[in-house]
Amino acid sequence: MTTSHNRKVSLDEKISLDDVLAEIAALPAPPDGEQLRAWISSYPQFKAEIVDFATAWIEMEANPSAYEEKREDVDVVVNRTMSRVQQILDEAKRSPSLKDLLADIKAAGHDLESFQRAVGIDRSMLTCLAERMIRPATIPLRLVTAMAEALGRTAEVVRDYLRLPPQPAAAFKARKRPEPKQDDFAVIVKSAELPEPQKARWLTEPLDPSLRARSPARKASTRRRARCPSFRTSCLTPRE
Protein backbone atom coordinates (compact mmCIF):
# COMPACT_ATOMS: atom_id res chain seq x y z
CA MET A 1 0.00 0.00 0.00
CA THR A 2 1.13 3.51 -0.62
CA THR A 3 2.48 5.83 2.04
CA SER A 4 -0.33 8.30 1.51
CA HIS A 5 -2.81 5.50 2.05
CA ASN A 6 -1.25 4.68 5.43
CA ARG A 7 -1.25 8.34 6.34
CA LYS A 8 -4.93 8.60 5.65
CA VAL A 9 -5.69 5.54 7.72
CA SER A 10 -3.67 6.78 10.67
CA LEU A 11 -5.30 10.18 10.61
CA ASP A 12 -8.70 8.53 10.34
CA GLU A 13 -9.83 11.11 7.82
CA LYS A 14 -13.18 10.71 6.21
CA ILE A 15 -12.40 9.06 2.92
CA SER A 16 -14.79 8.73 0.01
CA LEU A 17 -15.05 5.67 -2.18
CA ASP A 18 -13.70 7.76 -5.03
CA ASP A 19 -10.54 8.57 -3.03
CA VAL A 20 -10.02 4.92 -2.13
CA LEU A 21 -10.42 3.69 -5.71
CA ALA A 22 -8.15 6.44 -7.01
CA GLU A 23 -5.48 5.39 -4.51
CA ILE A 24 -5.83 1.75 -5.53
CA ALA A 25 -5.50 2.82 -9.16
CA ALA A 26 -2.14 4.35 -8.24
CA LEU A 27 -0.73 0.85 -7.74
CA PRO A 28 1.62 -0.14 -10.57
CA ALA A 29 -0.49 -3.26 -11.30
CA PRO A 30 -3.85 -4.64 -10.16
CA PRO A 31 -3.70 -5.62 -6.47
CA ASP A 32 -2.85 -9.20 -5.53
CA GLY A 33 -4.66 -11.13 -2.81
CA GLU A 34 -2.57 -9.69 0.00
CA GLN A 35 -2.93 -6.10 -1.13
CA LEU A 36 -6.64 -6.57 -1.70
CA ARG A 37 -7.14 -7.85 1.85
CA ALA A 38 -5.17 -4.90 3.24
CA TRP A 39 -7.41 -2.43 1.39
CA ILE A 40 -10.56 -4.25 2.45
CA SER A 41 -9.51 -4.35 6.08
CA SER A 42 -8.80 -0.61 5.98
CA TYR A 43 -12.09 0.21 4.29
CA PRO A 44 -14.54 -2.60 5.08
CA GLN A 45 -17.44 -0.31 4.20
CA PHE A 46 -16.27 -0.36 0.56
CA LYS A 47 -15.49 -4.08 0.40
CA ALA A 48 -17.81 -4.94 -2.48
CA GLU A 49 -16.74 -1.92 -4.55
CA ILE A 50 -13.05 -2.62 -3.97
CA VAL A 51 -13.45 -6.26 -5.06
CA ASP A 52 -15.44 -5.20 -8.14
CA PHE A 53 -12.87 -2.56 -8.99
CA ALA A 54 -9.91 -4.93 -8.66
CA THR A 55 -11.74 -7.58 -10.69
CA ALA A 56 -12.57 -5.10 -13.45
CA TRP A 57 -8.97 -3.89 -13.51
CA ILE A 58 -7.64 -7.42 -14.01
CA GLU A 59 -10.28 -8.07 -16.64
CA MET A 60 -9.34 -4.87 -18.43
CA GLU A 61 -5.63 -5.73 -18.30
CA ALA A 62 -6.39 -9.14 -19.80
CA ASN A 63 -7.66 -7.40 -22.92
CA PRO A 64 -5.02 -6.95 -25.56
CA SER A 65 -3.60 -3.48 -25.99
CA ALA A 66 -2.80 -3.54 -29.65
CA TYR A 67 -2.71 0.23 -29.75
CA GLU A 68 -0.01 1.83 -31.81
CA GLU A 69 0.25 5.49 -31.17
CA LYS A 70 -0.90 7.46 -34.16
CA ARG A 71 -0.56 11.18 -34.45
CA GLU A 72 -3.94 11.29 -36.16
CA ASP A 73 -5.69 9.73 -33.14
CA VAL A 74 -4.22 12.34 -30.82
CA ASP A 75 -5.18 15.19 -33.15
CA VAL A 76 -8.74 13.94 -33.57
CA VAL A 77 -9.21 13.46 -29.83
CA VAL A 78 -7.75 16.86 -28.96
CA ASN A 79 -9.79 18.68 -31.61
CA ARG A 80 -13.03 17.04 -30.57
CA THR A 81 -12.32 17.55 -26.89
CA MET A 82 -11.41 21.22 -27.27
CA SER A 83 -14.49 21.82 -29.38
CA ARG A 84 -16.62 20.33 -26.61
CA VAL A 85 -14.68 22.31 -23.99
CA GLN A 86 -15.60 25.53 -25.78
CA GLN A 87 -19.25 24.49 -25.80
CA ILE A 88 -19.15 23.70 -22.10
CA LEU A 89 -17.46 26.99 -21.23
CA ASP A 90 -19.84 28.94 -23.47
CA GLU A 91 -22.79 27.19 -21.91
CA ALA A 92 -21.59 28.13 -18.45
CA LYS A 93 -21.45 31.79 -19.47
CA ARG A 94 -24.88 31.77 -21.03
CA SER A 95 -28.21 31.94 -19.33
CA PRO A 96 -29.28 28.47 -18.18
CA SER A 97 -32.58 28.85 -19.97
CA LEU A 98 -33.21 29.66 -23.61
CA LYS A 99 -35.54 32.63 -24.10
CA ASP A 100 -34.44 34.25 -27.35
CA LEU A 101 -33.56 31.78 -30.08
CA LEU A 102 -32.01 34.32 -32.45
CA ALA A 103 -29.74 35.71 -29.72
CA ASP A 104 -28.78 32.18 -28.70
CA ILE A 105 -27.86 31.30 -32.28
CA LYS A 106 -25.39 34.18 -32.31
CA ALA A 107 -24.06 33.28 -28.85
CA ALA A 108 -23.39 29.77 -30.12
CA GLY A 109 -21.16 31.22 -32.84
CA HIS A 110 -23.60 30.81 -35.73
CA ASP A 111 -25.22 33.26 -38.10
CA LEU A 112 -28.77 32.50 -39.23
CA GLU A 113 -27.60 30.86 -42.46
CA SER A 114 -25.14 28.52 -40.78
CA PHE A 115 -27.71 27.59 -38.14
CA GLN A 116 -30.25 26.78 -40.85
CA ARG A 117 -27.72 24.60 -42.62
CA ALA A 118 -26.76 22.85 -39.39
CA VAL A 119 -30.35 22.05 -38.52
CA GLY A 120 -31.63 21.47 -42.06
CA ILE A 121 -34.37 24.11 -42.15
CA ASP A 122 -35.12 27.21 -44.21
CA ARG A 123 -35.68 30.80 -43.08
CA SER A 124 -39.46 30.47 -42.81
CA MET A 125 -39.10 27.47 -40.48
CA LEU A 126 -36.50 29.30 -38.42
CA THR A 127 -38.84 32.29 -38.08
CA CYS A 128 -41.65 30.03 -36.94
CA LEU A 129 -39.34 28.43 -34.39
CA ALA A 130 -38.11 31.81 -33.17
CA GLU A 131 -41.71 32.96 -32.70
CA ARG A 132 -42.74 29.56 -31.34
CA MET A 133 -45.55 29.29 -33.85
CA ILE A 134 -45.18 25.51 -34.14
CA ARG A 135 -47.28 23.25 -31.96
CA PRO A 136 -44.73 21.47 -29.73
CA ALA A 137 -46.48 18.09 -29.84
CA THR A 138 -45.97 17.96 -33.62
CA ILE A 139 -42.22 18.63 -33.57
CA PRO A 140 -39.93 15.72 -34.50
CA LEU A 141 -37.18 14.56 -32.18
CA ARG A 142 -34.54 15.15 -34.86
CA LEU A 143 -35.34 18.85 -34.95
CA VAL A 144 -34.91 19.09 -31.18
CA THR A 145 -31.60 17.22 -31.14
CA ALA A 146 -30.26 19.09 -34.17
CA MET A 147 -31.13 22.44 -32.57
CA ALA A 148 -29.59 21.37 -29.26
CA GLU A 149 -26.39 20.29 -30.98
CA ALA A 150 -26.09 23.45 -33.04
CA LEU A 151 -26.75 25.66 -30.02
CA GLY A 152 -24.56 23.68 -27.62
CA ARG A 153 -27.58 23.28 -25.37
CA THR A 154 -29.21 20.22 -23.91
CA ALA A 155 -32.29 18.82 -25.63
CA GLU A 156 -34.33 19.59 -22.51
CA VAL A 157 -33.42 23.29 -22.67
CA VAL A 158 -34.58 23.37 -26.29
CA ARG A 159 -37.81 21.58 -25.38
CA ASP A 160 -38.46 24.09 -22.60
CA TYR A 161 -38.03 26.87 -25.15
CA LEU A 162 -40.39 25.25 -27.64
CA ARG A 163 -43.01 24.85 -24.93
CA LEU A 164 -43.05 28.60 -24.20
CA PRO A 165 -46.11 30.50 -25.43
CA PRO A 166 -46.02 31.79 -29.01
CA GLN A 167 -44.59 35.23 -29.52
CA PRO A 168 -45.34 36.48 -33.04
CA ALA A 169 -43.43 39.50 -34.23
CA ALA A 170 -46.03 40.53 -36.83
CA ALA A 171 -47.75 43.89 -36.54
CA PHE A 172 -51.53 43.97 -36.27
CA LYS A 173 -54.14 46.61 -36.80
CA ALA A 174 -57.04 45.32 -34.74
CA ARG A 175 -57.83 47.03 -31.44
CA LYS A 176 -57.60 43.78 -29.59
CA ARG A 177 -54.38 41.81 -29.87
CA PRO A 178 -55.22 38.54 -31.67
CA GLU A 179 -54.57 35.32 -29.87
CA PRO A 180 -51.69 33.70 -31.75
CA LYS A 181 -52.40 30.19 -32.98
CA GLN A 182 -49.71 27.64 -33.59
CA ASP A 183 -49.54 25.32 -36.57
CA ASP A 184 -48.47 21.74 -36.94
CA PHE A 185 -44.85 21.17 -37.91
CA ALA A 186 -45.99 19.33 -41.03
CA VAL A 187 -47.92 22.40 -42.25
CA ILE A 188 -44.84 24.58 -41.79
CA VAL A 189 -42.65 22.07 -43.63
CA LYS A 190 -45.03 21.84 -46.59
CA SER A 191 -44.88 25.61 -47.00
CA ALA A 192 -41.10 25.80 -46.60
CA GLU A 193 -38.70 26.49 -49.44
CA LEU A 194 -36.75 23.29 -48.96
CA PRO A 195 -35.94 20.69 -51.62
CA GLU A 196 -38.72 18.10 -51.83
CA PRO A 197 -36.59 15.17 -50.57
CA GLN A 198 -35.64 17.21 -47.51
CA LYS A 199 -39.29 18.06 -46.88
CA ALA A 200 -40.23 14.41 -47.27
CA ARG A 201 -37.59 13.44 -44.77
CA TRP A 202 -38.88 15.92 -42.20
CA LEU A 203 -42.41 14.68 -42.71
CA THR A 204 -41.45 11.11 -41.94
CA GLU A 205 -39.36 11.88 -38.86
CA PRO A 206 -40.73 10.43 -35.60
CA LEU A 207 -42.14 13.02 -33.22
CA ASP A 208 -40.38 13.92 -29.99
CA PRO A 209 -42.14 11.81 -27.34
CA SER A 210 -41.16 14.25 -24.58
CA LEU A 211 -42.87 17.14 -26.33
CA ARG A 212 -45.91 14.99 -27.12
CA ALA A 213 -46.23 13.80 -23.55
CA ARG A 214 -46.09 17.18 -21.90
CA SER A 215 -47.94 19.30 -24.42
CA PRO A 216 -51.51 20.22 -23.52
CA ALA A 217 -54.14 18.19 -25.29
CA ARG A 218 -55.52 19.74 -28.42
CA LYS A 219 -58.85 21.33 -27.67
CA ALA A 220 -61.92 20.71 -29.76
CA SER A 221 -62.20 24.45 -30.38
CA THR A 222 -59.01 24.41 -32.39
CA ARG A 223 -60.94 22.69 -35.12
CA ARG A 224 -62.88 25.88 -35.64
CA ARG A 225 -59.96 28.24 -35.39
CA ALA A 226 -58.73 30.27 -38.27
CA ARG A 227 -55.24 29.74 -39.60
CA CYS A 228 -52.74 31.43 -37.32
CA PRO A 229 -52.26 35.07 -38.26
CA SER A 230 -48.51 34.87 -38.13
CA PHE A 231 -48.47 31.91 -40.46
CA ARG A 232 -48.77 34.18 -43.46
CA THR A 233 -47.45 37.37 -42.03
CA SER A 234 -44.31 36.28 -40.32
CA CYS A 235 -43.53 32.57 -40.53
CA LEU A 236 -43.27 32.58 -44.28
CA THR A 237 -41.67 35.96 -44.55
CA PRO A 238 -37.91 35.78 -44.55
CA ARG A 239 -36.58 37.96 -41.80
CA GLU A 240 -33.07 39.16 -41.11
Partner: protein, 265 residues
Protein backbone atom coordinates in the same frame (compact mmCIF):
# COMPACT_ATOMS: atom_id res chain seq x y z
CA UNK B 1 10.02 15.13 -21.19
CA UNK B 2 8.24 15.51 -17.93
CA UNK B 3 5.14 13.40 -17.75
CA UNK B 4 2.78 11.79 -15.34
CA UNK B 5 4.16 8.76 -13.56
CA UNK B 6 3.48 5.65 -15.60
CA UNK B 7 1.42 3.10 -13.77
CA UNK B 8 3.89 0.37 -14.58
CA UNK B 9 6.40 2.13 -12.37
CA UNK B 10 4.92 5.04 -10.45
CA UNK B 11 8.16 5.89 -8.70
CA UNK B 12 10.09 6.31 -11.87
CA UNK B 13 9.99 9.74 -13.38
CA UNK B 14 12.44 12.02 -14.99
CA UNK B 15 12.54 15.60 -13.80
CA UNK B 16 11.06 17.83 -16.49
CA UNK B 17 13.22 19.99 -18.63
CA UNK B 18 13.62 23.43 -17.17
CA UNK B 19 10.31 24.93 -18.22
CA UNK B 20 11.62 28.45 -18.37
CA UNK B 21 14.86 27.97 -20.26
CA UNK B 22 15.69 31.14 -22.10
CA UNK B 23 12.78 33.05 -20.55
CA UNK B 24 13.02 35.99 -18.20
CA UNK B 25 11.70 35.12 -14.75
CA UNK B 26 10.84 37.13 -11.70
CA UNK B 27 13.23 35.85 -9.07
CA UNK B 28 11.06 36.93 -6.18
CA UNK B 29 9.30 34.45 -3.93
CA UNK B 30 6.97 32.19 -5.88
CA UNK B 31 4.72 30.19 -3.63
CA UNK B 32 2.65 27.35 -5.04
CA UNK B 33 -0.80 27.00 -3.44
CA UNK B 34 -0.93 23.86 -1.29
CA UNK B 35 -3.45 21.11 -1.95
CA UNK B 36 -6.25 20.51 0.53
CA UNK B 37 -5.38 16.84 0.68
CA UNK B 38 -2.12 15.15 -0.27
CA UNK B 39 1.04 16.47 -1.82
CA UNK B 40 2.32 16.94 -5.32
CA UNK B 41 5.44 15.18 -6.53
CA UNK B 42 8.61 17.26 -5.97
CA UNK B 43 9.12 17.58 -9.73
CA UNK B 44 5.65 19.08 -10.11
CA UNK B 45 6.21 21.45 -7.17
CA UNK B 46 9.48 22.58 -8.72
CA UNK B 47 7.88 23.13 -12.11
CA UNK B 48 5.02 25.13 -10.62
CA UNK B 49 7.38 27.17 -8.51
CA UNK B 50 9.12 28.30 -11.69
CA UNK B 51 5.76 28.79 -13.37
CA UNK B 52 4.65 31.26 -10.73
CA UNK B 53 7.72 33.38 -11.36
CA UNK B 54 6.71 33.98 -14.97
CA UNK B 55 4.66 36.95 -16.00
CA UNK B 56 1.40 36.38 -17.87
CA UNK B 57 2.89 36.97 -21.32
CA UNK B 58 5.57 34.35 -20.78
CA UNK B 59 3.08 31.92 -19.27
CA UNK B 60 0.96 32.09 -22.41
CA UNK B 61 4.06 31.68 -24.56
CA UNK B 62 5.03 28.57 -22.61
CA UNK B 63 1.55 27.10 -22.91
CA UNK B 64 1.46 27.74 -26.66
CA UNK B 65 4.79 25.92 -26.91
CA UNK B 66 3.17 23.06 -24.97
CA UNK B 67 0.24 22.94 -27.38
CA UNK B 68 2.64 22.86 -30.31
CA UNK B 69 4.65 20.08 -28.72
CA UNK B 70 7.78 22.19 -28.25
CA UNK B 71 7.62 22.35 -24.47
CA UNK B 72 7.40 19.51 -21.97
CA UNK B 73 5.15 19.80 -18.96
CA UNK B 74 4.22 17.49 -16.12
CA UNK B 75 0.56 16.62 -16.63
CA UNK B 76 -0.13 17.40 -12.98
CA UNK B 77 1.34 20.88 -13.44
CA UNK B 78 -1.01 21.51 -16.36
CA UNK B 79 -3.95 20.36 -14.24
CA UNK B 80 -2.92 22.94 -11.65
CA UNK B 81 -2.54 25.72 -14.22
CA UNK B 82 -5.95 24.86 -15.72
CA UNK B 83 -7.48 24.84 -12.27
CA UNK B 84 -6.08 28.23 -11.32
CA UNK B 85 -7.22 29.67 -14.66
CA UNK B 86 -10.70 28.27 -14.09
CA UNK B 87 -10.81 29.75 -10.59
CA UNK B 88 -9.90 33.19 -11.90
CA UNK B 89 -12.14 32.89 -15.00
CA UNK B 90 -9.08 33.33 -17.23
CA UNK B 91 -10.42 31.59 -20.29
CA UNK B 92 -7.41 32.17 -22.52
CA UNK B 93 -5.06 30.47 -20.07
CA UNK B 94 -7.58 27.72 -19.38
CA UNK B 95 -7.96 27.01 -23.11
CA UNK B 96 -4.23 26.81 -23.70
CA UNK B 97 -3.43 24.84 -20.54
CA UNK B 98 -6.21 22.34 -21.13
CA UNK B 99 -5.28 21.91 -24.78
CA UNK B 100 -1.66 21.28 -23.82
CA UNK B 101 -2.87 18.83 -21.17
CA UNK B 102 -5.09 17.03 -23.68
CA UNK B 103 -2.30 16.79 -26.21
CA UNK B 104 0.23 15.44 -23.74
CA UNK B 105 -2.21 13.10 -21.98
CA UNK B 106 -3.91 11.64 -25.06
CA UNK B 107 -1.20 9.05 -25.89
CA UNK B 108 -1.26 7.70 -22.32
CA UNK B 109 -5.06 7.61 -22.25
CA UNK B 110 -5.25 5.94 -25.66
CA UNK B 111 -2.84 3.29 -24.43
CA UNK B 112 -4.90 2.71 -21.28
CA UNK B 113 -8.09 2.11 -23.30
CA UNK B 114 -7.90 -1.64 -23.83
CA UNK B 115 -10.09 -3.99 -25.79
CA UNK B 116 -11.76 -1.21 -27.74
CA UNK B 117 -12.13 -0.31 -31.39
CA UNK B 118 -10.37 2.78 -32.64
CA UNK B 119 -13.50 4.95 -32.44
CA UNK B 120 -14.34 3.64 -28.99
CA UNK B 121 -10.82 4.44 -27.82
CA UNK B 122 -11.14 7.98 -29.05
CA UNK B 123 -14.51 8.35 -27.36
CA UNK B 124 -13.19 6.99 -24.09
CA UNK B 125 -10.21 9.35 -24.11
CA UNK B 126 -12.49 12.31 -24.79
CA UNK B 127 -14.76 11.18 -21.97
CA UNK B 128 -11.83 11.01 -19.54
CA UNK B 129 -10.52 14.43 -20.58
CA UNK B 130 -13.96 15.98 -20.13
CA UNK B 131 -14.23 14.28 -16.75
CA UNK B 132 -10.96 15.96 -15.81
CA UNK B 133 -12.30 19.30 -17.01
CA UNK B 134 -15.38 18.76 -14.87
CA UNK B 135 -13.17 18.06 -11.83
CA UNK B 136 -11.09 21.16 -12.59
CA UNK B 137 -14.15 23.39 -12.88
CA UNK B 138 -15.67 21.95 -9.71
CA UNK B 139 -12.32 22.53 -7.95
CA UNK B 140 -12.10 18.83 -7.13
CA UNK B 141 -8.92 17.97 -8.96
CA UNK B 142 -6.54 17.47 -6.02
CA UNK B 143 -5.88 13.85 -6.88
CA UNK B 144 -5.29 14.69 -10.55
CA UNK B 145 -2.58 17.12 -9.37
CA UNK B 146 -1.04 14.39 -7.20
CA UNK B 147 -1.10 11.52 -9.69
CA UNK B 148 -2.67 12.20 -13.06
CA UNK B 149 -2.06 8.69 -14.41
CA UNK B 150 -3.86 7.07 -11.46
CA UNK B 151 -6.74 9.54 -11.76
CA UNK B 152 -7.10 8.63 -15.43
CA UNK B 153 -6.65 4.92 -14.75
CA UNK B 154 -9.43 4.97 -12.18
CA UNK B 155 -11.73 6.57 -14.74
CA UNK B 156 -10.70 4.06 -17.44
CA UNK B 157 -11.57 1.16 -15.14
CA UNK B 158 -14.92 2.74 -14.25
CA UNK B 159 -15.74 3.15 -17.93
CA UNK B 160 -14.70 -0.44 -18.56
CA UNK B 161 -17.03 -1.59 -15.76
CA UNK B 162 -19.93 0.46 -17.12
CA UNK B 163 -19.39 -1.00 -20.57
CA UNK B 164 -19.27 -4.55 -19.21
CA UNK B 165 -22.42 -3.91 -17.18
CA UNK B 166 -24.20 -2.72 -20.32
CA UNK B 167 -23.09 -5.81 -22.22
CA UNK B 168 -24.18 -8.05 -19.36
CA UNK B 169 -27.51 -6.25 -19.25
CA UNK B 170 -28.16 -7.27 -22.82
CA UNK B 171 -27.88 -10.96 -22.01
CA UNK B 172 -29.40 -10.75 -18.55
CA UNK B 173 -31.05 -13.89 -17.28
CA UNK B 174 -32.85 -14.60 -14.02
CA UNK B 175 -31.01 -12.91 -11.18
CA UNK B 176 -29.66 -15.27 -8.55
CA UNK B 177 -30.55 -14.71 -4.92
CA UNK B 178 -29.20 -15.98 -1.63
CA UNK B 179 -31.55 -18.89 -1.65
CA UNK B 180 -31.74 -19.78 -5.28
CA UNK B 181 -29.54 -19.65 -8.27
CA UNK B 182 -31.12 -21.22 -11.33
CA UNK B 183 -27.77 -22.57 -12.37
CA UNK B 184 -27.82 -24.79 -9.25
CA UNK B 185 -30.49 -26.92 -10.82
CA UNK B 186 -28.64 -27.46 -14.00
CA UNK B 187 -25.68 -29.54 -12.98
CA UNK B 188 -23.99 -31.20 -10.08
CA UNK B 189 -21.00 -29.15 -8.98
CA UNK B 190 -17.71 -30.78 -8.10
CA UNK B 191 -16.96 -31.54 -4.46
CA UNK B 192 -13.64 -29.74 -4.51
CA UNK B 193 -12.50 -26.45 -5.89
CA UNK B 194 -9.94 -26.45 -8.66
CA UNK B 195 -6.36 -25.84 -7.58
CA UNK B 196 -5.43 -22.20 -7.35
CA UNK B 197 -3.21 -21.13 -10.21
CA UNK B 198 -0.23 -18.81 -10.00
CA UNK B 199 -1.42 -15.29 -10.72
CA UNK B 200 0.73 -14.84 -13.83
CA UNK B 201 -0.48 -18.14 -15.23
CA UNK B 202 -4.09 -17.26 -14.47
CA UNK B 203 -3.69 -13.88 -16.19
CA UNK B 204 -2.19 -15.53 -19.28
CA UNK B 205 -5.01 -18.09 -19.49
CA UNK B 206 -7.56 -15.36 -18.96
CA UNK B 207 -6.12 -13.24 -21.76
CA UNK B 208 -6.28 -16.24 -24.08
CA UNK B 209 -9.88 -17.17 -23.30
CA UNK B 210 -11.45 -13.84 -22.43
CA UNK B 211 -14.12 -13.93 -25.10
CA UNK B 212 -15.10 -17.51 -24.39
CA UNK B 213 -15.92 -17.01 -20.71
CA UNK B 214 -19.27 -15.71 -19.52
CA UNK B 215 -19.12 -12.63 -17.34
CA UNK B 216 -19.83 -14.48 -14.07
CA UNK B 217 -17.45 -17.33 -14.77
CA UNK B 218 -14.77 -14.81 -15.70
CA UNK B 219 -15.26 -12.80 -12.52
CA UNK B 220 -15.23 -15.89 -10.31
CA UNK B 221 -12.07 -17.07 -12.06
CA UNK B 222 -10.33 -13.72 -11.46
CA UNK B 223 -11.45 -13.51 -7.85
CA UNK B 224 -10.34 -17.03 -7.08
CA UNK B 225 -7.09 -17.28 -8.99
CA UNK B 226 -5.87 -13.66 -9.20
CA UNK B 227 -7.30 -12.11 -6.03
CA UNK B 228 -7.07 -15.23 -3.84
CA UNK B 229 -10.58 -14.90 -2.43
CA UNK B 230 -12.12 -18.02 -0.89
CA UNK B 231 -15.19 -19.68 -2.35
CA UNK B 232 -17.28 -18.38 0.56
CA UNK B 233 -16.07 -14.82 -0.03
CA UNK B 234 -16.79 -15.06 -3.74
CA UNK B 235 -20.19 -16.59 -3.05
CA UNK B 236 -21.08 -13.80 -0.63
CA UNK B 237 -19.91 -11.17 -3.09
CA UNK B 238 -22.11 -12.55 -5.87
CA UNK B 239 -24.95 -13.42 -3.50
CA UNK B 240 -25.03 -17.07 -4.54
CA UNK B 241 -24.17 -20.29 -2.76
CA UNK B 242 -20.64 -21.65 -2.46
CA UNK B 243 -21.90 -24.62 -4.45
CA UNK B 244 -22.66 -22.30 -7.38
CA UNK B 245 -19.19 -20.80 -7.19
CA UNK B 246 -17.65 -24.25 -7.43
CA UNK B 247 -19.73 -24.84 -10.52
CA UNK B 248 -18.76 -21.51 -12.08
CA UNK B 249 -15.08 -22.19 -11.47
CA UNK B 250 -15.38 -25.67 -12.88
CA UNK B 251 -17.03 -24.31 -16.00
CA UNK B 252 -14.44 -21.58 -16.33
CA UNK B 253 -11.75 -24.26 -16.12
CA UNK B 254 -13.51 -26.34 -18.76
CA UNK B 255 -13.73 -23.36 -21.07
CA UNK B 256 -10.13 -22.40 -20.54
CA UNK B 257 -8.98 -25.98 -20.99
CA UNK B 258 -7.91 -26.75 -17.44
CA UNK B 259 -8.94 -30.01 -15.89
CA UNK B 260 -9.29 -31.70 -12.54
CA UNK B 261 -10.66 -30.68 -9.15
CA UNK B 262 -8.28 -30.38 -6.31
CA UNK B 263 -8.08 -28.89 -2.87
CA UNK B 264 -9.29 -25.44 -1.92
CA UNK B 265 -6.98 -22.97 -0.18
Amino acid sequence: MGESPELEDPHEHTPPEHPTAGVAVDLGAASVPALTRGQRRPAVEAELSLWYRLDQVHRLTELRAGVEGRRAFNLEALVHVSREASRSSDRETLNLAFEALSKLAAPLLLFQARGLSRDERREQVQDILLHILEAIRADKADFAEINFAAFAKRRSISLFRSRQARLEGIGERIEPTDDLDPIDDMAEPPDDLPARLMRAEAMALLARSLDKLSSRHRQAFIQYHCLSLTQEEIAKHHRVTARTIRLWLERANDTIGLSGGQDDD
